[in-house]
Subunit: 408 residues, 2 copies
Amino acid sequence: MAVLVQKYGGTSVGDAAKIRHVAERIAAARRAGNSIAVVVSAMGDTTDRLIDLAESISAAPDPRELDVLLSTGELVSCTLVTMALREIGEEAVSMSGAQAGIRTDTAHGSASIVEFDAERVQQALDAGRIVIVAGFQGVTHEMDVTTLGRGGSDTTAVALAAALGAERCEVYTDVDGIYTADPRIVPDARKLSEIGYEEMLELASYGAKMHPRSIELAAWYNTPVLVASSARDVPGTLIHEVAPEGEGMEVANKVRGVTYERGVARITLRAVPDRPGIAAAVFEPLAESNISVDTIVQNASAERLTDLSFTVDRSDLRSALEVTEGVAGTIGAGECVSHDNLGQVSIVGTGMQNAPGVAAVMFSALAEAGVNIEMITTSQIRITCVVDEAQVNDAVRTLHDAFELGEG
Amino acid sequence: MAVLVQKYGGTSVGDAAKIRHVAERIAAARRAGNSIAVVVSAMGDTTDRLIDLAESISAAPDPRELDVLLSTGELVSCTLVTMALREIGEEAVSMSGAQAGIRTDTAHGSASIVEFDAERVQQALDAGRIVIVAGFQGVTHEMDVTTLGRGGSDTTAVALAAALGAERCEVYTDVDGIYTADPRIVPDARKLSEIGYEEMLELASYGAKMHPRSIELAAWYNTPVLVASSARDVPGTLIHEVAPEGEGMEVANKVRGVTYERGVARITLRAVPDRPGIAAAVFEPLAESNISVDTIVQNASAERLTDLSFTVDRSDLRSALEVTEGVAGTIGAGECVSHDNLGQVSIVGTGMQNAPGVAAVMFSALAEAGVNIEMITTSQIRITCVVDEAQVNDAVRTLHDAFELGEG
């Protein structure tokens, strides 16, 4: 009997009617002859409401206490889904993260799973029960409740699938799969029937719906993940290990999708002395201030002075500027300039690394469309161009066309 | 350092402002040099809302699932109180029932505590922390969450006080103590400064605010319980072991209080054959139907036929009648008649058993007030008269006056 792990997000269990609908779906999978474990998120906006409640008491709620508070959201939804299943005649049992055997470190608010002893889940499955596990939570060795951070329920689901050796982890959400581009921007964007872990990782980082850590976990354990709609019965996208040489039409296409991001700000530090230790001097203080730096570009210079540019989320710009201006004085650099109306557009695909022409196609397509490229970075499977925020939509459409990603 | 256990009910932690107020009270007790453990109920009407939520999914929610669902209410309130304490600079830590060491049987929905290993609470207290325990919940030996039933948070508090060998369990609620009668009916009702466990047990059964099982537990472990107001800083009522001979004015008064109940219905089974096994034949089927029978009166009869009367809660009358009419046929009894507009009024006091005149005073006072007595039952420390529901208030006032229980 195949073991399937299904995961339903907060929107999918947002009210009693939706919970009953989810129960019907789970029951159908069970009746189709599978052994089913399910991971659920908190109902709708429960987590946000609990955070508001905590903040009405304390400006900086204690992380250990906040974790217990937030964990109640998933306890509520997992018991309700279990009740709904029992109501339609299915043998179902709920388990908290602790009961399901999810042991984490003590990093409250963003804990990492250190061990997943799924024995109790396995026993219940063996006894013919459907097991509903509260997502997003675990427990330390001292039995203190932790939460895994946002996106944590996906991580619970993939980790459970890995621990059970499940055939597949099915992530049901309000989108019905992974698209070649955001359909709101590109009307003929095409849903991918399959995608590799690394490609999904790049897409997930740039706006798609699964948290990167859950994809990394799936890749590590080689657990296939199906992303599909909880509302509609249409095929989703299977994230799995795609053969390196790729077979079939779709995999042969080097570029698999176009992603974008808005709200990007850039800081440029001019006339930086070009000597060892400079990068550390700039970026360590930023890290200490919890500012996440994305793209970094450093131009070589003949005069032992260089320009150093990097991007941050726009909401971090002010604090990032303060830190950087402080550093500029210390290291004897020149002025600090910033630009806060940027976005970025990326093409993603594992085939790209052996196809040098891809970058050229990207740059010339953007040029023809009149999109100025402010910065360029590349990885093995992604090329990203920082552009004017107002031109992001044009750039996405241009690239989607240039790489012939659309339907038909 | 004295160990105190405080318990705050749902109304006392009903919103953020009230939670901050409770935190101030707890902090004051801590700063006065005590070691403090606190038990809290769920905020306001949380438990009712969770039950409604469950019933929107399932007409008869699975008891195990319902317990997990309901237990989240106290997890929320105990973390919020902890956050509020930390916000004002107190070292505080929350614990679930499981973490606090409350092991119960597996009777979901109305579990009994089988063991209370308060070591973790004790360690936290020893480390100078205030411990906030989620009331109403425990955990089975299989780590399944259970709830202790309504009134369970009082039981948690008293059990914790007993397990810690606390000096006192302080139960804070929306009333400021135990009165000689309901002040809404008797304007000059007087707050008792102290009361014995057994007396409180009778008062608690008849409308006062603590669940009998928590009083029984306190009596068993001889744990003093202070019932007081969470809103106002006035002396409450101390429930403790009162010396049998009673010293001082108050204890010397044989009758300590007057209680009442409305919504009482009576069923009378006429012409019941007077032979062994009849009572069991009547009351076993009622118990099997989960109908709680209160007062039972059987009149002797010369003709080997007797009348058997008993009272039930009015809401149970219809099903009780069905059961009883079925039984009547089986045992060859006569007709079944019922009366559904009754109430009862009781006088309570440990001194009563050695004072035969008390009953006579009660009956003649009611007679003078024109209150007809329908049924009478007595216990060691209580005399109860079933009367017309419309005369309950008159009866309470009459008895309060007759036994000179009022102020001055």
